[in-house]
């Protein structure tokens, strides 16, 4: 091969890699950085599995989660798990996680519980993000008295331990899953207001924002088109970690009897209703708790990984 063709080849290679680089949008770069984080990958894998379980719950669950099996099968209340592979006689019906206090198949309830928990995490935090970022954006962009009023209100909400405030709110609104969701959302609003306000304050000083303003961009347009896209990463990180906290808080509220009401297959409520049977039927406490832990762990790992990938400096303390 001649040196000339060598050089040409070299140039083509360089050019194609340059094009590769251009084709890499912001999102693809971000994705690549995320996938370099071990914890993010583990979190994503677990989360992916949970989402699949939630979607295909009717296919995976051997029984209806609310079906009482009295008279349907020869099973008794709070019967221990029966797994054929582990030596349970084949003539007995298989119940991977045993039977609960109302003679229902616990495995099916755990499977369906995935839907409830993911729904809780996503809705509460979405609500908190929408309200929180709006408040934070107004506070940061308008400044002055609006900033003062909004942020002092957030300080007050932050002054309560979060679970306690949620309890107090549900105490007023009345028990039930919907009110518990609302309470958890309210409790989480200050976090996002603070994050959003901080990014607005730092971004609005930039020249490109000033340029947009000089070109005649209105405040709402600037907020949505210029500032919000640039403050997404801390919001995503905080939101992911927030979902973990929300799932835990919802489980705690349901455990106390304030959240999901029977017969909803919610893990915290399942655990709470059987907690006095922990010595006689530990499987009814162990599995729902394990499910909660795995779900929370997935969001925590993903959130940590995202934080390291998207913003190495953001190691701020979030209350738990």
């Amino acid at each position: 091969m001649s040196p000339v063709s060598d050089a040409t080849e070299e140039v083509t290679k360089l050019r194609s890699s340059l094009e590769d680089y251009r084709a890499n949008s912001l999102w693809r770069l971000m994705l690549r950085r995320i996938l370099r984080q071990r914890s993010a990958i583990v979190g994503l894998v677990i989360l992916g599995a949970l989402v699949l379980v939630a979607i295909f719950a009717p296919l995976l669950a051997p029984y209806d989660p609310e079906e009482v099996l009295i008279g349907v099968e020869p099973v008794t209340k709070r019967q221990a798990p029966c797994i054929h592979l582990l030596g349970c006689p084949a003539d007995q019906p298989q119940h991977l996680m045993g039977i609960d206090g109302n003679v229902r198949d616990q495995f099916s309830r755990i499977i369906y519980g995935t839907r409830v928990s993911l729904f809780i995490g996503l809705t509460t935090i979405s609500f908190a993000i929408i309200i929180g970022t709006t408040l934070g954006a107004i506070a940061g962009y308008a400044g002055g008295w609006a900033d003062n009023i909004i942020m002092r209100l957030m300080d007050v909400l932050m002054a309560f331990p979060s679970l306690l405030l949620a309890i107090a709110i549900v105490n007023v609104l009345g028990r039930g899953l919907q009110n518990a969701l609302l309470a958890i959302a309210i409790v989480n609003v200050p976090t996002y207001a603070r994050v959003m306000r901080a990014s607005v304050l730092s971004i609005k000083q930039n020249e490109f924002v000033e340029a947009s303003r000089a070109l005649g961009g209105g405040p709402v347009w600037i907020l949505f088109r210029r500032i919000l896209p640039n403050s997404l990463s801390p919001l995503i990180v905080q939101g992911t970690l927030g979902i973990a906290g929300a799932v835990l808080e919802a489980a705690a509220l349901s455990f106390l009897g304030l959240g999901a009401q029977p017969p909803t297959p919610e893990w915290g409520a399942m655990l709470g209703s059987e907690r006095n049977q922990v010595f006689s039927a530990p499987h009814l406490v162990f599995y729902p708790g394990l499910a909660i832990m795995i779900t929370v762990l997935a969001f925590n790992l993903l959130g940590d990984g995202l934080r390291d990938a998207l913003d190495p400096r953001l190691s701020g303390v979030v209350r738990h």
Binding site: R275, N300, L301
Partner: protein, 359 residues
């Protein structure tokens, strides 16, 4: 320095005012007739009218808030519906247990969490570090109530008959009585006098009381009963403290002055423990303060599981029984305590971080 402390205290006042406002608003938002909520469904119109007038509920809302503030500042949190007793008195009775549990838990979390964080940071990316961080991640993801129940199952049932057996509920074993120190030493106090409540409060801190009275049998029994709830309650703070210590120390270890200390030939242990750790612990300290508030919330769950008659358990029972004044009063008290702890942490920064004095 004094200026900083005064300013910090003044800054806490609006938050305290806000907390009062929030608890007031929450109390007013309870659906239905407040009279029927408190006196019961069978209360007649006549009784209700008198009740509403007595409690100023017929006054304009801002006057009502004023009355509420006046009552709270006097230490009057209203009466419990269930017990027909002042909420404040119930709080004083229940607080020692929760305080004891909380202090033991946060001490445990700090004493274990900080060393774990240091080891993880010093041996960054080693198997020890990876294992600790996996453990810490699992620790923050565990529901307290689940951990508590599983601990009770393992230590009270599976390990029954072994020396590792631990009691799953209560504060003392049957037959063990914690005699109040004022009785042991024959101190004469009149029942009902303010002094009596202070004595009673101290006597209800079983660990402190048994140390004062040198009753080692009761001390051992009380500690034995406290282990499981304290471990359950301390897991989440412990994980958070370990993670915070690690990341904070890693950041400090990268700084120039640490390199300078190493370069001048100091042993690694001295550099880490003497030079780096002092700076690294500042943010950890803040986290510990924040976790103290979380421990109060966690106590609602832990005390419920371990059958401990503390503030948390009372709060849970009050929620179940719809005893609104107790829920409101306890929430207020805990929030105020939370603000006070964070204030203390901020103020103590003056002594921990000399840079603050300069500002």
């Amino acid at each position: 320095m004094v200026q900083y402390i005064v300013r910090r205290i003044l800054m806490a006042l609006p938050v305290l005012f806000g907390i009062l406002l929030v608890t007031f608003v929450l109390a007013r938002l309870i659906p239905g007739d407040p009279c029927k909520a408190i006196l019961g469904e069978k209360a007649t119109q006549d009784v209700c009218d008198r009740f509403i007038h007595e409690h100023g509920l017929d006054q304009p809302i801002h006057v009502q808030f004023g009355l509420y503030m006046r009552d709270v500042l006097r230490g009057d949190l209203g009466d419990s519906i269930r017990f027909h007793r002042p909420v404040t008195r119930i709080l004083i009775e229940r607080l020692p247990l929760t305080l004891e549990l909380g202090i033991v838990a946060i001490t445990l979390a700090t004493l274990v969490g900080i060393p774990l964080g240091i080891i993880s940071a010093v041996y960054h990316n080693s198997p020890v570090d990876v294992l600790t961080m996996i453990g810490a991640n699992i620790g923050v993801s565990m529901p307290v109530f689940w951990l508590g129940l599983m601990l009770a199952y393992v230590f009270a049932l599976l390990l029954k008959g072994t020396p590792f057996w631990l009691p799953p509920s209560g504060r003392l074993s049957a037959g063990v009585v914690a005699v109040p120190f004022y009785e042991v030493y024959g101190m004469a106090v009149e029942q009902g006098a303010p002094q009596f409540y202070v004595y009673e409060f101290i006597a209800n801190l079983y660990i402190l009381n048994s140390i004062i009275t040198a009753n080692w049998k009761v001390l051992g029994d009380a500690v034995h009963h406290l282990i499981l709830p304290a471990v359950a309650l301390s897991t989440i703070p412990m994980s958070i403290i370990a993670r915070m210590t690690r990341s904070s120390l890693l950041e400090v270890l990268r700084l120039d002055y640490v390199r300078a200390a190493r370069a001048k030939g100091l042993p690694k242990s001295a550099v880490v423990l003497k030079h780096a750790l002092r700076n690294a612990l500042l943010p950890v300290f803040t986290v510990i303060g924040l976790q103290m508030g979380a421990i109060f919330a966690g106590a609602v769950l832990t005390e419920t599981i371990f059958g401990l008659a503390g503030v948390g358990r009372m709060l849970y029972e009050a929620i179940t029984a719809r005893d609104y004044p107790v829920v409101q009063g306890f929430t207020l008290a805990i929030a105020v305590g939370y603000v006070a702890i964070n204030l203390l942490v901020d103020v103590s920064y003056v002594f921990l971080d000399p840079r603050i004095k300069l500002k």
